[in-house]
Symmetry: C2
Subunit: 186 residues, 2 copies
DNA sequence: ATCTTGCCTGACCGATCGGCCAGTTTTCAA
DNA sequence: TTGAAAACTGGCCGATCGGTCAGGCAAGAT
């Protein structure tokens, strides 16, 4: 019987992953809007029709590119919900830096989508979770602290873009210093 | 004689300004790439051909939209060049906040162009001046301080986006606090 | 050997883009 | 009043976009 995923679904998953891989690189380099399905297909070594055979449309490709990062963020929000305020803030600072550094490419992509992000249901969850994370990072109900947390996230995301020559550790260290200065935690 | 600008160059300048005005609003709301020449023409109450009669192309419209902000930044860089290091840093912090708040729309537009900004000669001067301003804002040759200045600018620009409900004064005050915390100046 | 299923593709579609041009309308000095 | 310059426009162009569809092709089951 062919059901319940044989071993790794040889061809199916292999092509799908290659498309997502190349789409990520192209979205990061040129932006989502400036990347065509033909560009993705050529980079992945298949035809444009193949891309649309595996994905229902260009937004579906975007969702697949964003999915790993979205899952990590969702998990982080869930974990922070069960902590005390101070612990949640500390976790948010540490883990958000790690996630942003690890998923640099996703940060690039999101920036290019921002002007029309409200009209893209496939990234709604990620955006909502991101705003929730801002709440935890603020650490208090003071509007000023909340705004500073947003300021910090903007700076953090900006720093993760076009950071090709910086190592992950350097980037992590810089963001850690900046966030703690902004939020007055050390 | 018709030369040397009569009083206000009646029709010519009026249409030109209206096009730039509407283009600014549309670029800010939907982004540069998502705005077509037809959109601009319709908003300005003229035809697409008229837009291309006044401007050599879409990038020329962008340049006109960015021009006032670019001029202000260029003037700021020039002024900072004649000051001591500490004074230049203080001027950069204060004036950059003022400019970013005043030209909120331009900040939005620039964000949308970022992935392909290297290929747009009409914004090259503005980008160069912005990087020069980062040097002044850092206040020292310490790479860490320079990175923190970049971090601050990213946060500042991010905060100026989608800030419709915030007043200019609130925005200025927030940015002032954030920058001084990041750069350890008060 | 035949058939079915899943993976893939070339060719094509309508829509929209930035840009161009011939020609019309408006303006204004002589 | 007239005529030329300026301002403006409808219509068209080639290119490219996201997306659809009928069919080719390899592989495993019968």
């Amino acid at each position: 019987m062919p059901g319940t995923s044989p071993v790794t679904t040889p061809a199916r998953e292999r092509t799908r992953r290659e498309i997502v891989r190349q789409a990520m690189d192209l979205f990061q380099a040129r932006g989502y809007n400036a990347t065509s399905l033909q560009d993705i297909a050529t980079a992945a070594g298949c035809s444009k029709a193949t891309v649309l055979y595996h994905f229902s449309g260009k937004p579906a490709v975007l969702a697949a590119v964003l999915e790993p990062a979205a899952a990590d963020v969702a998990e982080l929000v869930k974990a922070a919900a069960e902590l005390s305020r101070a612990d949640a803030q500390e976790l948010a600072i540490q883990s958000f830096i790690d996630l942003a550094v690890e998923h640099r490419g996703v940060v690039d992509v999101l920036q290019d989508i921002l002007p029309v992000i409200e009209q893209m249901p496939e990234v709604g969850k990620l955006v909502t979770d991101g705003m929730q994370l801002t709440q935890y990072m603020a650490g208090s109900d003071d509007p000023l602290e909340h705004d500073l947390a947003k300021f910090a996230i903007n700076g953090l995301l900006g720093e993760c873009r076009h950071s090709g020559e910086r190592t992950d550790d350097e980037l992590r260290r810089l963001c850690d210093i900046a966030l703690r200065r902004l939020l007055r935690r050390g």
